[in-house]
């Protein structure tokens, strides 16, 4: 399958008002699986994710895909830390990204019906999306991202503030996407979730990539004292 990956970050840094928020970071994202980004609050997880997606202005360095910028932009999707709902109905939120790429109407409607069922929102199809519960919004945001069948899906704490059932639903969605070949790069504060989902992981600290590796080694044999402390739940700054 041709893909926009690998994604290569070379000497990337982000500074705002004289403060270094990120970097310098060098990393290569391979073409399959799920990468989990972990780290304390304010360590730069969101910034890193936004940099990869290309919605954060760089102060230095390069972000490159295996294809041109324009094509790469079309083949990735992002779910924000606080879900952004269009002021439209649930069904229209799903319709929006499909309308942008202009596919046949019949196909669009079929996709919407299918995704509504998959996220359990069929009875809410005609409701204003802004009135959904937090968990429902999050599911809708993920469905709206996946409905375009992106090569790469970025998720910023998709399960923050959600209960066990909603978290399980979302993890099931992500597993399905993974088995369909979608590359997922996400952040979480839920270590259990990280262990369940990750193929490999990155530990961010003070804007730097502190430790990274395949899930097994990362979780069972962390190399740095800071990551061990993080797993213990100690406060690290």
């Amino acid at each position: 399958m041709n893909t926009i990956l690998p994604l290569t970050l070379t000497d990337v840094s982000v500074r705002r008002r004289g403060k270094r928020l990120l970097g310098p970071v060098d990393v290569i994202m391979g073409s399959s699986g799920l990468t989990m980004i972990l780290g304390p609050n304010g360590s730069g997880k969101t910034t890193l994710l936004r940099v990869m997606h290309g919605v954060e202005r760089l102060s230095g360095g390069k972000v490159e895909w295996s294809v041109g910028q324009d094509e790469a932009r079309h083949r990735q999707a992002y779910v924000f830390q606080t879900p952004i709902m269009l002021r439209r109905t649930v069904a229209d939120n799903l319709r929006y990204p499909l309308n942008l790429i202009g596919i046949a109407r019949k196909e669009i409607e079929a996709e919407i019906v299918e995704w509504l069922a998959r996220i359990g929102l069929t009875p809410r199809a005609g409701l204003q999306a802004t009135r959904l519960s937090g968990g429902e919004k999050q599911k809708l945001a993920i469905a709206r991202a996946l409905i375009r069948k992106p090569d790469v899906l970025f998720l910023d704490e998709p399960c923050a503030n959600l209960d066990g059932a909603a978290t399980r639903d979302i993890e099931a969605l992500l597993q399905t996407a993974l088995s369909n070949g979608t590359r997922i790069i996400m952040t979480t504060h839920d270590l259990g979730q990280a262990r369940r989902l990750a193929d490999d992981a990155i530990f961010m600290l003070r804007g730097l990539l502190h430790e990274a590796g395949p899930a097994d080694a990362f979780f069972n044999a962390p190399q740095t004292a800071e990551l061990r402390a993080f797993f213990r739940g100690d406060i690290i700054t």
Partner: protein, 234 residues
Amino acid sequence: MSDIYEGLVSAFWLVVTLDPDLVQISLRSLQVSLTALFIASAIALPFGTFLAIRRFRYRRLAISLLNALMGLPPVVVGLIVYILLSRSGPFGVLGLLFTPTAMIIAQVIIITPLIASITHQAMRELWAEYHDLLISMNTSSGQRIRTLIWDGRRNLLTASLAGFGRAIGEVGAIMIVGGNIDNATRVLTTAIALETGKGDFALALALGFVLIALAIGINICIHWLSRTEREGRW
């Protein structure tokens, strides 16, 4: 005092019997102001939205200019349009002076900045909300503007209604460029001014009733729109 009382009574009759003069003048008022509203909205809604989402060099200047234009005295607008359209003016050959078209032009100039300014305010809020999502979805400028206009349509309708309210109640500019000619350019406001001057309170008051009814109707609409906005319906 009895003048006014008699005026009120006959005004009431003019309204309930649908007096032909009254109807004609009211319809012309609606026609002029609705046409002006339509044209002004077609300019101001996309322009206000554009101002809210695009950063360009003279954006701040454009916004200040817009706010300044909003405060332009209508009489001065009338004067300028008069000069431009008068026989010796640059557009004199068109022969538009003292026609409804001239009145529409003046009203468009008066209400476009108002509608654009309200649009800009509302769209700025919506854009702050949508910004990251629309950037992430790789939308073109045109798609962004269309999305904001569609999802902000209630706010835009409010902006347009405010413009319509200003247009239908305006008298200075259209008096100058329209000339208040019977059966041609006489509208509600100019007729009220004329009939009051002549001392015909009956017709003046009847016209006033219609104008007030329109103004109240618009306000009810705006109120209703902002309520549905809060409750998140349509």
